[in-house]
Symmetry: C2
Subunit: 221 residues, 2 copies
């Protein structure tokens, strides 16, 4: 087979916002508020996992949720209705990612002194959100079985910035060609130390493990 020609095209459209991210991270830390940034492709099951997780954690922690979307407020109402915790809808006006300043502006709308954990559901996008520090203390990256086990190879940065990875929709694995060992190898190629959890939020498979991991992070905060 002929070698395929590779054309490198680079474009510098990425803004630096790490200074604000670092400031926000420290401000929140001083107030004892842990910020968890949740990232994935569209439709990989962020909201379903969060509903299940929040219901496991809400008796122990005061939780606030920020739902970021280009448009619509479907997910915000789902979370509020199914968990009862405080939810804020953020609209990005078409932007593909969140900056630390956007997060700071929104988080200040909460009554911060009554919060232990703020969960930020980022825009569904496996590319841009990874570039922008949100000021979070941990990044939870989801990858769903239907998306395929090769995604860490094709979207390297997202898996590099992950604090831990949650594989979702394990229940549908029988109808997809998805190799759990291979996906772990692919993730660890990008990020040697990332723990990987294999879950099905709908069937409550291994969501306790994710909740325990978060509890550990909060206890050591």
């Amino acid at each position: 087979m002929d070698k395929i020609k590779i054309v490198e095209v680079k474009e510098d459209i990425l803004l630096r916002n790490s200074t604000i991210g670092n400031e926000l991270r420290e401000e929140l830390k001083k107030q004892g508020i842990f910020l968890l940034n949740v990232m994935s492709s569209p439709g990989s099951g962020k909201t379903t996992l969060l509903v299940n997780l929040i219901n496991k954690l809400k008796d122990k922690y005061n939780i606030g949720v920020i739902e970021a979307d280009l448009d619509s407020d479907v997910d915000a109402y789902t979370i509020k209705e199914k968990t009862g915790v405080r939810v804020m809808q953020m609209h990005t006006g078409g932007a593909c990612h969140l900056t630390a300043q956007m997060v700071r502006d929104t988080i200040n709308e909460f009554d911060l002194k009554n919060l232990d954990l703020v969960i930020l559901e980022n825009v569904g996008n496996l590319v841009c959100p990874a570039e922008f520090d949100t000021g979070s203390h941990a990044n939870m990256v989801l990858l769903s079985v239907p998306e395929g086990d090769d995604k860490p190879l094709k979207y390297p940065l997202m898996f590099e910035v992950a604090s831990f990875v949650v594989i979702t929709k394990k229940d549908v694995a029988p109808v997809f060609d998805f190799d759990f060992d291979r996906v772990k190898d692919n993730i660890h190629l990008r990020n040697k130390k990332a723990e990987v959890f294999v879950t099905s939020a709908l069937n409550d498979i291994n969501v306790d493990e994710v909740a325990n991991h978060l509890t550990k992070l909060l206890n050591n905060f």
Copy 2:
């Protein structure tokens, strides 16, 4: 239930490149080359659909494929191996979308006088690629069953810029809560005239319809 507070956060990070897009569209038209831009989320089945489609069309048309990725060349080799048509891998260097200039630079690497159809597999991303005119003559947008039928509500621009929409992975519908009528309604809320094809490329369901639609577009070019 309390009304959820909505915080609007807008950021102007989008560049205009429609002038170059229009120029490229005209240049290609003069040479009788139809440029099809293919967009979707990561893992929605662009490559699998393209392999099937190209094998249906390659005896009638001279086809070239541009594979755009942040990194890796998995898909380019898959297309080349399974169809035999000319394939060019473009690396975006981390960028989340393609500009018309990137496409022009890459397309000029082909021997253009021997081409009827260039298929551009855009970066897997339901947000950014929709903002940037690639110079294409049509945009084919894919949405896979596992992603959910609400995506046109949450990613409106992608469905607004679609010339037609292909629902993929119909074969796994029994294990997902996906309503084909609802997704069509949601698409038509964004884009009244977009034709919608419901397919499974792996099982060759309705891919002929998509091939016929493309043939019609090429005949009327």
